[in-house]
Amino acid sequence: MNNYNKIIIGLVILILAFGLSVLYSVTYQRGQLFRDVFLDQLTWAGIGIFVLFLVSNINYRRFFDLAFFIYGLSIVFLLIVLLTGREILGARRWVELFGLNFQPSEIAKLGIVLVLARIFSQRQSYARNYFSGTSFVQELLIPILITLVPVGLIFLQPDLGTALLFIPVFFAMLIVGGAKIKYILSLFILMILSVPVGWHFLKPYQKDRLMVFLNPNVDPLGAGYTVIQSKIAVGSGGFLGKGWLAGTQNQLNFLPERHTDFIFSVIGEEWGFLGAMLLLLLYAALIYYLLLIAFQSKDKFAKYLSSGFIALLVSQIVINISMTIGICPVVGLCLPLISYGGSSMFIFLIFIAILLNINKKRIVF
């Protein structure tokens, strides 16, 4: 019996607590953001931990069965959001259900990873049954199509960040799934070649963000404002930071979106390099133990699912922090388990819970 699960739960609670303390500071000054933001998140964190325990007791194989259902559900929600969703900041990303607002793109993360894990794990048997050897169609086309449908819908919201997030996830699962190197390479090259074509599909504001990434000062009060202010916030924190509740960029409202996508700027400002390192360390430890679970699992579905999720977690952390310190373009991705937002937190907690169950079951087997 290993104690990974206890460690992981401990790390999750630490990260959530860290995030809550930052949110408390964000809402400390009476400004545009009210105390509700903090209280909401506190409630969700409480429910989230409950969900974590609950789901970790559900046999993860149930998700094998539910994979297509969840996938289908997410597509339905994505369609609903495109047709009727509330527009916030120029994008339809939210859907209201039973009085609760949530982001279907978060459910899509779960759906896509589950379905991909399922079909990758069944691939060899399919091949043996119906074809001689694995085919291009089997190994690549079907997974790509399965991924592209929801990703396309997310892209239309528009939410470029989440849509692109599935690229590393897809590749990670492909590699762990043992796909042929030539398929992986050719897909990779194809993607790079399609970048110039993709440019034309971008919304003007997305193009702005990319241009601004190259030089934030082209539009310091418009598209570049957030990045500049975020860099100032993080940089001004220095080694020790300005102290909790004492970040001027945060408290005086210079940072937009600082409770969601740009929460890391607040951490950098108030907790300094030390605080940022502490958070990165917590994340690293969490990822380390999740990886241990993934590699020690003998079940292919469990393995693919775990690696898909870990790729998702790592990519989102890296992209989010990178964009707050100006080393990658601004996209709408939140910082996992830290940023304000219930949908994202629940989905990450459910993923972690599934991995906890995988770990439990491995011992049982």
């Binding site: 940089g235 001004s236 924190g237 005086l252 890296v318 080393i327």
Partner: protein, 554 residues
């Protein structure tokens, strides 16, 4: 990648971003300090900082519903106020002036209704005021916004953009004392620039008051005497070098520079071909003409080339080389004293040729001509004393005897400021001391200058005494060039000069001291293109009579 990003942005460039963050949220609102006042020697105010009331609006606190009441108080219509707010908007907390120079009544009303009219404030603004207007302008200078060249020069001394600083005269020379320390209020603002809280307040420190050596009565009288003329008058205490009066004409009204909307008039002043902004007493130099004969006389006596008994015959001209040098009259046989009394050019050509140009240069320099007097005013000119050697070395030109003759009577390349001329005659009056003129007596009740005894000129007392007596005779003798009964009664002494200027006109000079036996004042009256020296003598008489009537010569 993230790690190195964080190391770079937080550890390596941390200081830079910290400063950016500070600048992001801290603003400083400056308060101007009251500038120190300037007094004359009797305590009369020459430059004052008057308080004026500006009615201002702080945009972040102001409510539009109060526009009506504000417009009633100030009697400006609502649209105009709205327009002013729109045009003057800098940031939510910086005041916008709605009414500059408000009357006491308006200020009182606005202050009374302070609580009903949030965001409406009465700001007290010090404004410079010069009660004597033109009379002291050239020694006082004026104040205005700091210009680009000065800010680069003075940045290290705490000067900043938007500072009010002194230009010209005492305002410039003593700016560092007069300006005081501006205070301010440091506030924290949020992303929309709204004031969140006050971080600190630094009260202003009033500038130091300055007492000058000048007497405003002399200033006024001198300005009046020069009113329609071009020229300068200097009156100096002959022993200490205290400037009792210094006026340059034409002058300007320094008050114009502190009032907005007087650009047209300022332009007129700056473009005036008579250059009202130049202090002719110290900043421009002219040929001294016969005034220089004082130097030639001393030089001749000191070098023993002549004695008081040396005589020459004046035939109305003297042939030097192959040129004839004219005298302004035919004087006949002249002894030394007569030559001074009549200002005989032929006599002094001869003396000059005996003494030689090198000695003339040396003695002129002994009297401080050709170098700055070190008066405590900006923009002093050092004049010019010709030098045979320098001319040879620098310009490769020869020196001719004719140059010596010209030099001896103060013509040619020689240039002297009225202040230098005053000091020259003062040195004769006080028995051979060259005082350092000064105009600032006290800075905040502390003496501005150490009283140091000026160096005694290494001249024989009898020679100086002889010249001094001769100068008295210039006024006393019936045939003297400055013989006016009024001057004679006051026991004045002096030397006239009619210097040829470039375009055929002449400058009129009269330098002297009074009373001759116990000099209270050394003076110089200089009239640019003023014709014969006689006009300068007349001006001097009026000035001295005025001073006497005010009891300043006792």
């Amino acid at each position: 990648m993230i790690f190195f990003g964080l190391v770079y942005i937080q550890l390596i460039r941390g200081g830079y971003y910290y400063e950016l963050a500070e600048r992001n949220h801290i603003r400083i609102i400056e308060w101007d300090a009251m500038r120190g006042r300037i007094f004359d020697r009797n305590g009369k105010v020459l430059a004052d900082s008057k308080l004026t009331f500006d009615i201002v609006v702080i945009p972040q606190d102001f409510r539009d519903k109060n526009l009506r009441r504000l417009s009633e108080i100030l009697n400006i219509n609502i649209d105009k106020i709205k327009k002013k707010i729109k045009l003057g908007y800098l940031s939510p907390f910086s005041p916008i002036i709605i009414r500059e120079n408000a009357t006491k009544r308006e200020a009182l009303l606005a202050e009374q209704e302070k609580f009903d009219l949030p965001g409406v404030l009465v700001q007290i603004q010090p404004k410079r005021y010069y009660p004597d207007r033109e009379a002291g302008a050239n020694i006082l200078g004026y104040v205005g916004l700091i210009d680009r060249s000065r800010i680069t020069k003075l940045k290290n001394y705490g000067y900043e953009i938007q500072d009010i600083i002194g230009y010209g005269g005492v305002e410039e020379y003593c700016d560092i004392n007069l300006r005081g320390e501006s205070g301010g209020i440091q506030i924290e603002v949020d992303n929309r620039g709204r004031q969140k809280r006050v971080l600190g307040i630094r009260p202003t420190v009033k500038g130091k008051d300055i007492v000058l050596t000048v007497d405003s009565r002399i200033q006024k009288k001198a300005a009046e005497l020069l009113a329609d003329k071009r020229g300068a008058i200097v009156a100096m205490q002959p022993y200490t070098g205290e400037i009792l009066g210094m006026v340059s004409s034409p002058s300007f009204d320094p008050n114009l520079f502190t009032v907005d909307n007087s650009n047209a008039e300022i332009k007129r002043i700056l473009n005036d071909y008579r250059s009202p902004m130049i202090n002719r007493a110290i900043s421009s130099s002219f040929a001294p003409g016969s005034v220089f004969k004082i130097v030639t006389a001393i030089a001749a006596l000191e070098t023993k080339k002549a004695t008081p008994n040396t005589s020459f015959v004046c035939n109305g001209s003297l042939r030097v080389g192959n040129r004839s040098f004219a005298c302004w009259e035919t004087h006949g046989l002249q002894n030394f004293m007569q030559a001074i009394i009549h200002s005989c050019d032929v006599y002094f050509y001869s003396l000059g040729l005996l003494v030689g140009p090198d000695m003339l240069t040396r003695y002129a320099k002994e009297f401080g001509l050709g170098s700055k007097t070190q008066i405590d005013l900006p923009g002093e000119d050092k004049g010019n004393i010709p030098d045979r050697m320098l001319r040879k070395l620098k310009r490769k030109q020869d020196w001719y005897k004719g140059d010596t003759a010209n030099f001896a009577i103060g013509q040619g390349e020689i240039l002297v400021t009225p202040l230098q001329a005053t000091r020259l005659v003062a040195s004769v009056a006080n028995g051979g001391f060259v005082p350092t003129p000064h105009i600032v007596e006290y800075v905040a009740n502390e003496k501005a200058h150490k009283d140091k005894t000026p160096g005694k000129l290494p001249f024989k007392q009898s020679n100086l005494e002889f010249v001094k007596i001769s100068l008295r005779k210039v006024v006393e003798a019936d045939s003297g060039t400055a013989h006016l009964s009024g001057l004679d009664t006051l026991k004045a002494a002096g030397k006239t000069g009619t210097a040829q200027a470039s375009n055929g006109k002449t400058h009129a000079w009269f330098v002297g001291f009074c009373p001759a036996d116990k000099p209270k004042v050394a003076f110089c009256v200089f009239l640019e293109y003023g014709g014969s020296s006689h006009s300068a003598v007349a001006v001097a008489q009026e000035l001295l009579e005025f001073m006497s009537s005010e009891g300043m010569l006792n």
